[in-house]
């Protein structure tokens, strides 16, 4: 079979036991590729376990921007047996597998962390091919399909490195096999080793000696492989991208940066996967540099701005404390947030109600993960939309916004505080495990696009003739907000229904006025928030088939649409960003003329599909759902959309791909 070379379009996976350095190897791989101007998208999968269970990282590289992972895989980099067993069958026929020849005899039964279901599945596969149950057998089945096998003698290489660096025990440097796997990957791909050396120096920048030992050691693996597989059809070539400042980061970092830029100065949290990454990143960078203000330097405020700022990151005793502490901080005028996942969010209900009735600008970043209960703590889901919408007893207003990609996550991280302060209400920023743990290259963020709007805030004393009323009735529902500690604007808060001063009332007339006042703020938000912040529309506005979705499915949908466009299948895509107040008009307009409406969600219950019907009366004709804990890939979405376009799809398709 003759192959046309595929340049700069690759899906690569590295896998290994948790705790063995899979993340660092994926980071080195991704950074090295990014240094060469390649676009990167990485998807990280791991068990809820500290050490021993299988984790893997898929990194896609491309010459053009990519936004999703795929089901196929062209190059599998392994250094343990389990990764071969789990992923070998998914390598494309023209792909390659890097493996440790010392593990060739390892039997399926020797790997206790492989689930019984997968074990039986693999056995069936091997038996059907008349093969035994070892790594060697599985590799043979791959080779029979055309897959290139790349043995890398890890132990020998480790011994060489140990000898050269006078290290007495191999176990002290055993993690270097990760970098052997990365280096041999770049070897077979014909990529410049210098890029990897640079990435190693960056990743180990705190330990220069370790970095150099890795640079020299990994080069051995590279040299062993390079030029030996010239027929391998996948190649990487550097691209000149000097015109664009680019960053490589995770979603959790993007959100954290957005929040800090947006003025957040207090973040509370209780440890929970996958939300904690954000708090830890902010805490590690809690001193905030201040820009030299462009305003008149004589102004006192500008003098303050020159001083370094800081974010107080508080790890609390539980999520009840996290949410209430954030509210307490917000009452003093600090922009404050908490950050959690489903089980923690469950504990925040009472806080959300209190912030609602007291009109406190509170931001909650909700990293959805697979529920219910503990569910699958490290796996992905968009299963909390309905929950976030109705969280808490009684009717308390809140704004819900959902980010679809890293860039939106960054901007929404900042914008959430503007909404919270302008409408004096809780904002729940819906993100998820997929966006948190994925990484990717993107043009560096432009801080100039961010503006801070603190809404109606009293900052220079109270000169009114009447006493200040924190909950004064106004046309818009928004009362000018003073903060605790501000001179002369004393007010009271209570979780009870209250009067304009903030004192308890059970008066039936006041009760109605207060309920209506609070709701009015959401009506104001619905009027004021520009349509561009409520929804995005991609693709063909006249398309008969419109996909509708929200959150991190965006990337896979757009990549699937691109793939289908090449096949002549044209789709429109309505991405709902503002979930509450629901953009009734914009959604109705986008969906009204569609013949088919395909609702795509990463949950069991089709939450958004139901919400669309509830708020617009329009019912999606098709559902594409997934709830196995692994994010939707562009591969499976393309297949689902193709079936719909061809008219042979069932009303509901459940996507099931996952490793």
């Amino acid at each position: 079979m003759t192959q046309t070379p595929t340049v700069n379009d690759l899906a690569w996976i590295v896998g290994g036991a948790q705790g063995s350095g899979v993340d660092s190897s994926a980071t080195v791989f991704a950074r090295a590729a990014a240094y060469g101007g390649l676009h990167v998208f990485g998807n990280r999968e791991y068990y809820s376990n500290i050490m021993g269970e299988h984790s893997y990282f898929q990194v896609r590289l491309s010459g053009h921007p990519i936004r999703s992972h795929v089901d196929t895989l062209n190059l599998l980099a392994t250094f343990d047996a389990e990764t071969v067993f789990r992923h070998a069958r998914n390598v494309t026929d023209d792909g390659a597998i890097i493996y440790d020849p010392g593990l060739a005899g390892t039997k399926l039964d020797d790997v206790p962390t492989i689930e019984a279901r997968l074990r039986a599945d693999l056995q069936t596969y091997l038996v059907a091919r008349g093969l035994g149950f070892t790594i060697q057998d599985l590799l043979k089945s791959a080779e029979d399909r055309g897959v290139t096998l790349v043995p890398v003698p890890y132990t020998r290489l480790l011994s060489e490195v140990a000898d050269e660096n006078h290290i007495d025990q191999l176990s002290k440097i055993s993690r270097m096999v990760n970098m052997f796997a990365v280096a041999s990957s770049f070897g077979i791909l014909g990529y410049d080793y210098e890029m990897m050396a640079r990435a190693l120096r960056d990743v180990f920048r705190a330990k220069a000696e370790v970095a150099e030992m890795n640079v020299r050691g990994a080069k051995k693996a590279y040299d062993l492989v390079v030029a030996k597989h010239l027929a391998f059809p996948y190649h990487l070539e550097p691209i000149d991208f000097r015109g664009e400042r680019r960053v490589l980061m995770t979603g959790a970092q993007a959100i954290g940066l957005g929040k800090v830029l947006g003025g957040m100065r207090v973040q509370t949290y209780y440890p929970i996967t996958p939300a904690s990454d954000e708090s830890e990143y902010i805490e590690a960078n809690q001193i905030v540099d201040s820009r030299a203000p462009s305003a008149d330097p004589a102004e006192e405020e500008s003098a303050v701005a020159k001083e370094a700022g800081s974010v107080l990151v508080m790890q609390t005793e539980d999520e009840i404390s996290a949410v209430t502490m954030a509210i307490g901080a917000a009452l003093t005028g600090a922009r404050a947030a908490t950050c959690t996942s489903g089980p923690g969010f469950c504990l925040m209900m009472e806080g959300i109600g209190w912030a609602g009735i007291n009109e406190v600008p509170l931001v909650i970043t909700l990293y959805q993960r697979a529920g219910p209960s503990t569910g699958m703590p490290t796996r992905h889901e968009q299963g909390d939309l309905r929950f976030a919408l109705h969280a808490g007893h009684g009717d308390s207003p809140r704004i819900l916004l959902a980010s679809g990609d890293f860039e939106e996550a960054f901007h929404d991280g900042a914008k959430a505080f503007n909404y919270a302060e302008r409408y004096q209400t809780t904002v729940i920023h819906l993100v998820d495990k997929a966006i948190a743990n994925s990484n990717g290259t993107m043009p560096t963020f432009d801080p100039d696009q961010v503006r801070i709007d603190r809404g109606e805030m009293i900052t220079d004393g109270w000169s009114g003739r009447d006493p200040y009323k924190r909950f004064a009735f106004t046309e818009s529902g928004v009362s000018p907000r003073a903060v605790v500690g501000h001179p002369g604007t004393m007010f009271w808060n209570t979780g009870d229904e209250h009067d304009e001063m903030g004192h308890i009332t059970e008066d039936p007339v006041l009760r109605n006025l207060m309920m209506e006042k609070r709701e009015k703020k959401l009506e104001l938000a619905a009027r004021e928030i520009p349509e561009g912040e409520k929804v995005n529309f991609f693709g063909d506005r006249t398309a008969g088939t419109v996909v509708v979705s929200w959150g991190s499915t965006k990337g896979a949908i757009l990549d699937a649409m691109d793939a289908l466009h090449a096949e002549g299948i044209k789709l429109g895509f309505l991405q709902i960003r503002l979930v509450n107040p629901f953009p009734v008009e914009a959604v109705t307009r986008a969906l009204a003329r569609a013949k088919s409406i395909v609702n795509v969600e990463m949950n069991f219950g089709a939450h958004m599909g139901g919400l669309i019907r509830e708020r617009t009366g329009i019912e999606p004709t098709h559902q594409v759902l997934k709830y196995n804990g692994r994010p939707m890939s562009s591969t499976e979405l393309a297949a689902a959309f193709r079936a719909i376009a061809k008219g042979n799809a069932p009303r509901k398709q459940v996507l099931t791909y996952g490793v």
Partner: protein
């Protein structure tokens, strides 16, 4: 600010109708808080009182300072958020014993670990008053107050012990019918550098017919004392030194406080049991990481210029993530 005028107790009173039962012990605590604030001449705009839920939590509506009436069991985390975002504020948290030692027990424990510079007052009456007299965490095993169908099945927790074990650096107990003494305790608790916990014995005249004002006052022991009541409550005397003067003294001072704090029944001590300012406050711990935390705390930081542009400069952070 206008020229300083002397603040009177009345300046700390609101006109909100007080709906506590006649004879409630809460009145004494409310009065003592107002008197202490006046005595200290604290700027009402610079004081926040943060309460939980229940009769005691309504206190904030009767005091003319910033008042934050929160959720059941949550005054401490709310107060911690207020104080740490603006450490220049004087923050007093308050609530009932059910609030602080039952539903809020996690916060009680963890506030001791943090040692934030604020005072927490528990209005301790052994019952859940606002829900009509169920047994609360300080009611002792086997006690049957009048609204209980049967004697209490749980042992009472000792708030002083719990506070000491949690790490509170100032532990006191007052009695709501000894206002002068209570004012002094509240003042000392506010002035303490660190987390101060004050347990106030507060008879509930409606539901606790066991630990009544008369019982605390020893009205039932007149015979033993030639017709004069023999009060159960007594003040720790000058011999009792609660202060930890050096790290070496800690074990002894905690042991002393626990021993005293265990007395109950015929003799119930009130006063300052323990005081330790050697432990750094949470504010100090933050300052060790963020040197200008106290002068430029979260609530006071400028976050935007006059055109709404963020003041934060992410250049270095973005550079660390850059690939070119």
């Amino acid at each position: 600010m206008a020229s300083k005028q002397v603040l009177k107790v009345a300046d700390f009173q609101t006109e909100v109708h007080n709906d506590w039962c006649p004879g409630c012990g809460d009145f004494g605590i409310l009065r003592s808080i107002q008197m202490a604030l006046a005595e200290m001449q604290l700027d009402p705009s610079n004081v926040a009182i943060v309460s939980g839920i229940g009769c005691s939590a309504k206190t904030v509506h009767y005091v003319k300072t910033y008042g934050v009436h929160t959720l059941h069991g949550r005054p401490l985390p709310f107060a911690t958020g207020v104080k740490l975002a603006n450490p220049g504020l004087e923050v007093v948290a308050c609530g009932g014993d059910g609030d602080g030692l039952g539903i809020g027990a996690a916060h009680f424990v963890n506030s001791g670990r943090r040692n934030v510079d604020m005072l927490y007052i528990i209005f301790d009456n052994g019952v859940y008053g606002l829900t009509k007299g169920q047994a609360s965490p300080t009611l002792r095993l086997g006690v049957k107050t009048k609204s209980l169908p049967a004697p209490n099945m749980n042992e009472g927790v000792n708030p002083l012990w719990l506070a000491l074990a949690a790490g509170a650096t100032w532990v006191g107990r007052g009695y709501s019918y000894d206002i002068k003494h209570l004012v002094s305790l509240i003042r000392q608790g506010i002035e303490h550098k660190g987390y101060a916990f004050l347990d106030v014995l507060q008879p509930c005249p409606t539901y606790n017919n066991i630990n009544t004002k008369e019982w605390f006052g020893g009205e039932d022991r007149k015979e033993e004392n030639e017709g004069r009541p023999l009060p159960r409550v007594y003040k720790l005397d000058a011999e009792y030194d609660p202060v930890v003067h050096s790290w070496e003294e800690i074990d002894a001072k905690i042991a002393q406080a626990m021993t005293k704090g265990r007395e109950w029944g015929d003799k119930i001590p009130i006063g300052v049991f323990y005081k330790n300012e050697l432990v750094p406050t949470y504010e100090k711990r933050i300052s060790s990481r963020v040197p200008n935390y106290v002068s430029n705390p979260p609530a006071k930081q400028a976050i935007a210029d006059t055109e709404g542009r963020p003041v934060a400069d992410l250049t270095k952070l973005l550079q660390s993530l850059a690939v070119n």
